[in-house]
Subunit: 279 residues, 2 copies
Amino acid sequence: MTKHPFDQALALEPAGADRPDTFMGHTSPAYWNMVGPFGGSTAATALQAVLQHPALLGEPVSLTVNYAAATSEGAFNITATPVRTNRSTQHWVISLSQPDAQGHEQVAMTATAMTALRRDTWHLNDMPMPQVAKPQDVPRADMRGAMEWLNRYEMRFARGAIPTDWHGDEKRSPDSVTQIWVRDDVPRALDFTSIAAMADVFYPRIWLRRPLRVPGGTVSMTTYFHASTAQLKEVGTGYVLAQGQGQAFRHGFFDQAAQLWSEAGTLLVTSHQLVYFKE
Amino acid sequence: MTKHPFDQALALEPAGADRPDTFMGHTSPAYWNMVGPFGGSTAATALQAVLQHPALLGEPVSLTVNYAAATSEGAFNITATPVRTNRSTQHWVISLSQPDAQGHEQVAMTATAMTALRRDTWHLNDMPMPQVAKPQDVPRADMRGAMEWLNRYEMRFARGAIPTDWHGDEKRSPDSVTQIWVRDDVPRALDFTSIAAMADVFYPRIWLRRPLRVPGGTVSMTTYFHASTAQLKEVGTGYVLAQGQGQAFRHGFFDQAAQLWSEAGTLLVTSHQLVYFKE
């Protein structure tokens, strides 16, 4: 059986017994963006290094990924170090590096993560899923001809699709809210790595808020995992509703707050990212 | 002239020419919380190490702080390393450690930060300041007898004050939104470190959403700085409106999304944090 392209992209080999925190990976053409991999797959790779580490305690609850430079096509090293292990929580420091032309390792991504033993407690969704049309009642977006990674997702825009009229007038554009029904194409059962990637599926909010096709890219992204392994399994290959919205656009950066729900209405993850843009 | 208590708390000494990334600090009794320093002052200290570093490029745009363990009363080392410097952006990896009883350094906090040269661009607040009563029309909260750090802030709750009836019934509690007019007491001109601390002034959202006084504490916090040095200077010693709201409460953790505006309505920072709670 051929591996799913997402699992191929996330494949990591231990670097050896003398470097227990380091894994070797390779960028995936299937998840290629403009000048590097899709940021969501890079975030998922950071998490994958933690999940493969023999010292892992618990499940992911928090992940922050900083994109320090575009990852070049080819091999990379990723190091995930458990710097503090408590009774029920564990803190990780992660970095991805590649050799430069002189053979010196250069950092392309830094990250931190927290894992924890989850327990059942009182629970409440304080951000109910917005009322939107069902996935089957929303047409699938045609992404052919766009960046390669977009072909790895089925996206159905319930609200805030990519503009078709690039008029550049923020007064004609009421907000920066996008709601997408999303799942892997080909289907793959949801897990922590794939939901970490899906938290980054949004096109730049500035394109919606002031419709001009300016260059932009995520510089930092933080995702909190509210779902357990069991709750992600329940979603299976079903759709996830991903909602993203900008809050402030200024000085060449904007932020994006995001929430991802299961179709049944469970808030699976919340996320916040910072994106640079050029004018 | 005596230094402001916040500047005393943030005072860092270079560890020496052979360790250019390391600074030595000391916890401050003035910002003491329950079992360690106020998390906001720890976040500000992480940022201070970056700001004092001779290799600094630009101004803070992003800061993530992970609270791996309670910082003990006393001295600590903080290391801030510029792991990647680009033309206009710089990425930092930060950690705070203290020796254990055996003299081994133990990590109490990990952090990452990004600094950048800000430039004027098109700008827009997509999260306008909510309409609330003016600070002078809201009584100041009486924090006497509570944790020491609370005495370092003037807080005026425009909405969502700490409950007085701990009934524990989420059905009687409509939401988890708190809006506070806040400033340093004694007054201190706003800067990146103080706004980083103010992003953490909220009491646990679970206390408001399900009024039971359960233990809780921040485990990770990310703050995006949308304001420039000049815009923070304009605020001076004026009030900041801090709004915080939980989105999901589950498995012993909840998140809190926050926005902080100047009284003039400028969105200064957005922030997102994850908090553990016990039942």
